[in-house]
């Protein structure tokens, strides 16, 4: 643990810190619940450390209370500070930090719905995940809630924010959409064509994934992690496995770590191509969309030949990878060489087509302040001046041994987000090539017989942005697994990105943010 000026925190809050524990690059500070706002505010503003996750745990049986955890990332030092507070069942309140750290908004509402702990002073205390027909006093992530419970439906109504005035109309869209996608409701308020307000309402298909994780055996849990967000399955599996490996104190063989880099970058390639195809479709550039989709399909077929699965599933396991891909080196290199030539040609064509550029430049602008406030991650964040990438800031797998650049831009429009992706495609190809050329000999998996009790963070940079897992193991089973998918951070950004844009540009803005319904609502 090496955080510059950590003594400043100790000095400033000396008498208020009740307990301090360090494990790996994670520093846990337990404080009284009234101190949390001040301490979080200090860390966030003084050290410029973003809030990357926030969650509660039900430890009433062991320690007699609930705990709320605030996770801050120190990017320059590759470290994390986790603030812990106790919240008693008899007084299930804690002070909201949303007015100081806007990114906490959804986390606090999530904790309110799932654990029944109320964030006092939250600017928007409406329900987020439990809908209005869900009865009061039933909290799914409390330990005494049985997973097979079917609570009765009650009557209730959700209050949308209203914009009223002469000539202001509301356009409700969804939850059922034209394409075969997942459900979500968008409520636009427009005056003429420009959008003056958008409110999103999600969480229509909550699957209770975090509850499903509990008491699940570890080898099975990897497959659950893999299926949380279908097209980011490697990133999720890698993040989850890394948390387990950290707790077990196991060194993953180098060959496995290199293999993970190859898998993660193959995943990024097909995702980015899919997004570029989608943006081309939404600006009616069918030629570009067809070619981008063709290139995406080439990667998917390569995935299938290399791993046996188009979506790269079933490759990761705690301790390493399950299949050696060393013998596929030539095939991957050959396919990527052809892919790179075709992609370069295509992207030049797309960016030199005026009908495309007219639609994507200056569209869907997200200001750096907004991106920072909401903690927008991944390509969307990097397009808005957030120069963060887990691969570089908190290196995992073999990223610290390979060379790559992290493209970053400031303009924050659809064009910037498309450009970031196209630049990342080139970097990903470079990473795969380097990893293949220097693939070390040796085992691909370290044996993990039993994992001792403990907890740790696992993280990775998915194509959509950072994925954060916090896993707590007890008796070789999962006690609590908090999953934070990049889309949970990025969805709110769309409410800001569409402002002052016209309704027909909404699909492009939406596509350029590449938001997952499934990863958001697990």
């Amino acid at each position: 643990m090496n955080i510059e000026n950590i003594d400043m925190i100790r000095k400033e809050f000396k008498s208020l810190i009740l307990n301090e524990t360090v494990s790996h690059n994670e520093l846990y500070l337990t404080v009284k619940k009234d101190v949390a706002v001040k301490l979080c505010d200090y860390i966030y503003h003084h050290f410029d450390a973003p809030l990357i996750s926030m969650f509660a745990t039900d430890e009433r049986k062991i320690e007699g209370s609930f705990k709320v955890h605030y996770v801050f990332s120190f990017d320059r030092e590759d470290a994390f500070i986790i603030i812990k507070i106790d919240v008693d069942e008899k007084s299930p309140y804690f002070k909201s930090i949303t007015h100081r750290i806007p990114a906490a908004s959804w986390y606090e509402r999530e904790i309110q719905d799932m654990f029944g702990l109320v964030p006092q002073g939250h600017p928007d205390p409406r329900r987020l995940i439990n809908f209005e027909d869900w009865p009061d006093g039933v909290y799914p992530l409390r330990k005494d809630f049985d997973i097979s419970t079917k609570p009765p439906r009650v009557k209730g109504e959700y209050a949308y924010r209203r914009v009223e005035g002469e000539g202001v109309y509301e356009i409700p869209v969804g939850p059922v959409h034209a394409g075969v996608i997942e459900p979500g409701h968008f409520r636009f308020s427009v005056a003429g064509e420009p959008i003056i307000n958008l409110e999103i309402r999600h969480f229509y298909t909550h699957k209770g994934v975090e509850k499903l994780f509990e008491r699940l055996s570890l080898d099975k849990a990897v497959f659950l992690a893999e299926r949380i967000s279908g097209d980011n399955s490697v990133a999720h599996a890698v993040a989850f496995c890394q948390a387990l490996e950290k707790i077990a104190g196991v060194d993953v063989p180098l060959r496995a770590r290199y293999t993970r880099v190859i898998l993660c970058e193959l995943e990024r390639l097909y995702n980015h191509l899919g997004d570029i195809a989608g943006i081309a479709t939404d600006v009616a550039y069918g030629f570009g969309a067809a070619h981008a989709n063709k290139l995406k399909e080439e990667i998917l077929q390569l995935n299938e030949r290399v791993t046996g699965s188009r979506m790269l599933r079933g490759m990761n396991a705690a301790g390493g990878v399950r299949r050696d891909i060393g013998d596929k080196k030539d095939e991957i290199l050959l396919t990527l060489a052809r892919f790179q030539r075709d992609f370069r040609e295509l992207i030049e064509l797309i960016f030199s087509t005026s009908s495309v550029m007219d639609r994507i430049e200056t569209t869907g602008h997200i200001y750096t302040d907004t991106a920072k406030g909401l903690h927008v991650v991944g390509p969307a964040g990097r397009a808005s001046g957030m120069d963060r990438d887990t691969r570089r800031d908190h290196p995992y797998a073999a990223y610290d041994e390979l060379n790559f650049k992290v493209p970053a831009m400031k303009s924050g429009d659809v064009f910037a987000r498309t450009k970031i992706r196209s630049d990342e495609v080139a970097e990903s190809i470079g990473l795969i090539e380097q990893a293949l050329w220097s693939l070390p000999e040796g085992d691909i998996r370290a044996e993990i017989r039993k994992i001792p009790d403990g907890y740790a963070l696992g993280y990775s940079e998915a194509p959509r942005g950072e994925v954060i897992y916090w896993v707590n193991i007890k008796e070789n089973r999962i006690e609590r697994c908090k999953v934070r998918d990049p889309s949970f951070c990025n969805w709110l950004a769309i409410e800001y990105a569409v402002l002052d844009n016209i309704v027909p540009d909404f699909p492009i803005i939406n596509k350029s943010l590449s938001l997952s319904y499934s990863g958001n609502d697990m």
Binding site: D219, F223, R227, H291, E304, R305, R313, L349
Partner: protein, 112 residues
């Protein structure tokens, strides 16, 4: 415009004549798991590791049956990995659509 035509011509046709002509999955593909009665010893290893729990071992009137349902199979290959006798293998077959759920069950059985 010229560039677009040039790229279109150079790319050519990309589609294949499926299903008129078969599209075979590559070697190493994780498809339909196949059971081999002659090798199975009914040890139940595959039953306990299956993540979606779609493999069952049943004993009724002195008859043991091992059933796998392809409905919920996630093709992870854990059963193949743990089977000590090679009695379950993932194949390259992927065309599993059927009209009834019963068609998606595979069974092997023994009378003791």
């Amino acid at each position: 415009m010229f560039e677009i035509i040039r790229k279109t011509l150079r790319t050519g046709s990309q589609t294949i004549n499926y299903p008129q002509e078969p599209d075979e999955a590559p070697p190493g593909f994780r498809g339909k798991p196949e059971l081999f009665q002659s090798r199975c010893t009914c040890c139940g290893e595959c039953v306990s590791v299956c993540p979606p729990s779609v493999i069952w071992l049943k004993e009724e009137n002195g008859e043991k049956t091992l059933t796998i349902s392809y409905c919920g199979c996630i093709f992870c290959g854990r059963c193949e990995e743990v089977c000590p006798h090679g009695a379950i293998k993932l194949t390259q077959e992927y065309e599993l659509a059927s009209k009834t759920k019963d068609d998606l069950l595979a069974r092997i059985g023994w009378r003791s």
